[in-house]
């Protein structure tokens, strides 16, 4: 095991504790050098974030609360339980034209400026009766690609494609793309492809210029996918039964698998060096190293890090070229930063 982590002297403190959701940590990695990093996790109906200086000493906290929208798309009182929306997934999206904070909630998708100050757009999800078993209406899976496209998945297995203008609030839904039979759990993209996964374990590979399906990866076993990530042409998918599987995005074949955790995996993340981090309810963060490419993959185990009595719900690499990570815990308002 070649990576040893030590916790940073000061964890990132946010005002509210993190909820128990998958992929519940998002990091705004600034595109310009002088901008500061932001960390955020979702908490029930709100999103708590902290802007942190490079050495971690100065922290500014901020919160965003989901809007409750009643019937007829008018704002509803915040304590009316019929209209309370819970955040299912929150993510910072970096597009060439603009940066956004997207909150995928039950009943709606809400889009804000990255610092949470300005509300840009709210899209109410279609209330038609959902498919076989999902009885709640939600959106999940957020990714941006191309110049100005934002994709969010929903409970029916459709991908909603939004067009984002460089300025202003003129965000509109360009297309609703059906594809999955089950609710979407995760979306990732790179320069050419869009990868979507669902609760059944199916992965669809799309060409993100034409939005046509290129390939299908059928479920490997009875377990669904909780989180996905992509490195070169290799798709990493984490499953609710503790497995991580790697697939070749070109020919949809399996390249590798790891029996990684003893509990459901809540999040995985890849950086550009081929490091993969996975966190789970079993209180472990595990780091794996990928080398080669999807056709000829080598996987090695780099690190186990155990955080006592903490069900870990989110992990992100702080930099795409280094191995420092940040981890969030259910019921805790500390985001733990681990430095290699």
């Amino acid at each position: 095991m070649s990576i040893k982590y030590t916790p940073a002297a000061q964890p990132v403190l946010i005002k509210w504790s993190a909820s128990h959701l998958s992929n519940n940590l998002t990091i705004y990695r600034p595109t310009e050098p002088r901008q500061l990093k932001m960390f955020g996790t979702s908490h029930k109906s709100g999103f708590a974030m902290a802007t942190v200086s490079e050495d971690g000493t100065k922290q500014i906290q901020g919160q965003v609360i989901c809007r409750a929208i009643g019937n007829n798309n008018t704002p509803a009182p915040e304590n009316d339980a019929r209209f309370i929306a819970y955040i299912v997934q929150a993510a910072y999206v970096n597009l060439p034209v603009r940066n956004l904070l997207v909150l995928a909630c039950t009943k709606s998708i809400q889009i804000y400026e990255p610092d949470g100050t300005t509300h840009l757009h709210i899209h109410m999800l279609d209330k038609t009766s959902p498919n076989r078993t999902e009885s709640s209406i939600y959106s999940r899976g957020i990714t941006g690609f191309g110049q100005n496209s934002l994709c969010v998945g929903n409970h029916q297995g459709e991908i909603l494609l939004f067009s984002i203008p460089p300025k202003g609030t003129n965000i509109f839904l360009k297309e609703t793309i059906p594809g999955h039979q089950h609710g979407i759990t995760s979306l990732v993209s790179n320069s050419e492809l869009l990868i979507s996964s669902d609760t059944n374990g199916t992965i669809l590979i799309w060409d993100n210029r034409t939005m046509l399906q290129k390939n299908v990866i059928e479920p490997m076993d009875d377990s669904g996918i909780t989180s996905t990530s992509i490195w070169k042409n290799c798709i990493a998918a984490s499953y609710a039964n503790g497995m991580i599987r790697f697939f070749d995005a070109g020919n949809a074949q399996i390249s590798g698998s790891i029996t990684a955790h003893a509990r459901c995996i809540n999040a995985i993340d890849c950086n550009e060096e081929g490091l993969v981090a996975s966190v789970s309810d079993d209180c472990y963060v595990r780091i794996w190293k990928l080398s080669g490419d999807a056709e000829n993959l080598q996987i090695s185990h780099e690190c186990n890090y155990h955080i006592e009595n903490s069900q870990l719900v989110g992990v992100k690499f702080l930099h795409l070229l280094r191995s420092d990570i940040a981890v969030s815990t259910y019921d805790s308002n500390e985001i733990i930063v681990l430095r290699a």
């Binding site: 128990h20 059944n200 609710a240 186990n304 155990h306 019921d331």
Partner: protein
Amino acid sequence: MTMSVKFQIMLCPCAADIIKVTYNHVNSMRKLVRSSTVLDLLDKAFIAFNKQYERLNDVEWLLIRDTILFFFQDVHIRVSIFLRENLQTQQGVFIVKTNGIVPNGFQTPGEIRTYKRGRLNNTHTFNAGEHHEPPDDKRTFHLGLNIYSKSKSSNESLLSDSAVRRPSVMVNAASDIEMINPDPKMIAQLNLLSDLIGNSSGGDSSRSGLLKLSLFDDDEDEDTGPPIQKRPQASSTSNQRPKNEDITIDVSKRNQNPRLSHVLQDFDFDERSTRRGKKDDDDDDDLCAMMDRLPGSTGNKRR
């Protein structure tokens, strides 16, 4: 109560185990319900629950569990039974142990497999940091069962408190009936024990048997050997293992009398003091006065 539901949901090994927790809840409720209409309704509700939830896959269950956990977020009440049984820290955080048997559908962590052209090419292992075992379908699922019925707390072992504890123990007894197979030997041993101490009252023999059962479990914890080793001090036929009730009752009767006679003597003594016409002083004064009058012997008799 909030914390115990939070405990059950958080500590479920996989999210679909919420079904098993519900099964345990419903089974325990069935034992407590007496009216047949209510039982009927309970069964109907259970069937409807099953119909709706058995077809969900595991990630759909995760969303259900996460939504339930919204409700319990930031609740860190410390519960005495969890603190005692080392299930909760002093800050109110539950202790999560994840070694041991992995849930159903999981594989034990530790293997890395690589594939070439879709076929298994190479397998090597890594150190998972904990000891894990493959899933085991046959083990009983404990979350959702009555946490007090299994409790080995010192409070319930104090025999002097058993009279006070009786109501709560009888509630446990209803759900304990099927959990503990009453071994006739054990019942006989426990009957003997309770008779020796003079706590047996009239009433249902099965109930008093169950009452002793919980005491017996606690005694077993305290002694290293089987309880029979206690017997030599109490009875002269201690070498006999009580195989059937008759023998044990005979043995106990011989020893019961000295205890009862001690108790009777205490009562006599109290009457004597009032006959002498002493004023009704404070209890303390009476006790001191009594102890002054009887040098040593009664003091030993009082427990």
